[in-house]
Symmetry: C2
Subunit: 271 residues, 2 copies
């Protein structure tokens, strides 16, 4: 049986989805049908949300789970009348926080994933443009501004990691792809020498790399197990010889790689 | 007075941070000092976290706020002995969810931002590579695979939006920059005609665009108010004439732009 889940928010829905997803991961024995209802910021929209929830309740003969981050008390009360089991996020924590902090919550909607401070927001967007402009190792001209230079062979997760670091933490991450001629020398590529302290290596199991590359260019030399092994051994030898901290990404998501890299490299979020 | 806030997690810390950040936005009258403690997955690490929390409590003479998403009961109990006010996410919701669903929570750590299903994960990474390869409008070769083609003038938020759509929703978004010669014709650029139903426009207030471009290339023609006005008027005329849905990004974060675009374009997340 499938159980409907609704994420109801007056903003983007990101908080409601994050909380709900996290809780649902603990109930993998149940099949969920998830639906996000963002920007629910008026009576009409709440009533529309309630109708959708009620229709699901009737169709399934069970109460849908409703994760709500609505702030407005009137809208929350209205949502509370639906035929779902409502998990009201602010209701749950705000009282205890008010007591702890000795002040009243401000109850302003849409703040958590809005623009916030314009300067901080610009830093994040600039970091993303930085990552894109420094995604291929073509030039090290902008490396003096880098917070970290992520190295690794092709398809070892460098690009997603750099983009994620920028969007989430405002970190300026350059991407330096390692290629055949980097493995043949006994030294660090000369262009990287001044940035030695910013280097971070990513690596991956050869079987996984072979699989990823084969999906992209089936049967190519690039995707062959032999080539994957050659490059990975070269990269790992380089990381070890030069004392570059590194991380194996095989079992890790981009979120996990990024959080781990921040910790290992001792980086602080800029936003 | 500054109040310390700790995010304690056995995984990336993303859920704990999202939960806490969202709640803190309702208490902007208080100054918070935030610290993330991810990958707390052993007794030693919990004890280290407790020490850090206790040191902050003593230094500040007030209980730090502690947002925890630890799953393991033993580690949670140990953290509960710290001198902070602990907001325990699973403790708060799991009981009610178990009752509602009629099953026990599985209590497995690190699931919520792990890799999950490898196929789903690959789709997300492929979507990101797609967005990067289609970031400059140089070719429409891959547009048949696009879920959406985001149009707009330079620095109207296309690139961050496309990257965010890929990483968060697994959506394949191409970026088509509008340039002078697109405004001079009375038709859609011919190359875009077959993808008309996938087009989505971004626009921005001229003052804001002028400011953003001026930070990038101060005093240039590109950044001049005259040029910004010319391009934005041309873009908006094109969106209107061709019936392309569009969104003004001036007051919106990349999260808000993306959630709104998903809704207006009727896109469904792929992951």
């Amino acid at each position: 049986m499938i159980r409907s889940v609704f994420y109801v928010s007056d903003g983007t829905g990101i908080t409601a989805e994050t909380l709900g997803h996290t809780l649902l991961t603990q109930f993998e024995q149940v099949a969920f049908q998830q639906m996000s209802l963002p920007f629910i910021n008026s009576e009409e929209k709440v009533d529309w949300a309630v109708q959708r929830i009620n229709r699901a309740a009737e169709a399934e003969g069970a109460r849908p789970l409703v994760f709500s981050t609505l702030i407005d008390a009137h809208l929350r009360a209205r949502l509370g009348e639906c035929q779902g089991a409502v998990f009201d996020f602010f209701d749950t924590f705000t009282g205890a926080m008010e007591q702890e902090l000795g002040v009243h919550a401000q109850r302003v909607a849409g703040r958590s994933h809005g623009m916030g401070n314009v300067r901080t927001y610009s830093e994040r967007i600039d970091a993303l443009h930085y990552a894109i402009q420094n995604d291929d190792g073509a030039t090290v001209r902008d490396y003096p501004m880098a917070d970290v230079v992520v190295m690794g062979v092709s398809r070892a997760g460098k690009t997603p990691t750099c983009m994620y670091l920028a969007l989430t933490y405002g970190i300026r991450a350059a991407n330096y792809p390692l290629a055949d001629d980097d493995f043949e020398k006994a030294t660090l590529p000369a262009a990287l020498e001044p940035y030695r302290h910013k280097l971070f290596g990513l690596t991956v199991d050869p079987e996984r790399l072979h699989q990823i590359r084969n999906e992209r260019r089936p049967g190519s030399r690039y995707a062959s197990m032999e080539q994957c092994l050659y490059e990975l051994q070269g990269a790992e030898r380089l990381f070890k010889r030069e004392g570059i901290p590194c991380l194996n990404i095989t079992q890790r998501s981009v979120e996990e790689i990024s959080a781990q890299l921040m910790q290992q490299a001792g980086l602080k979020r800029r936003i």
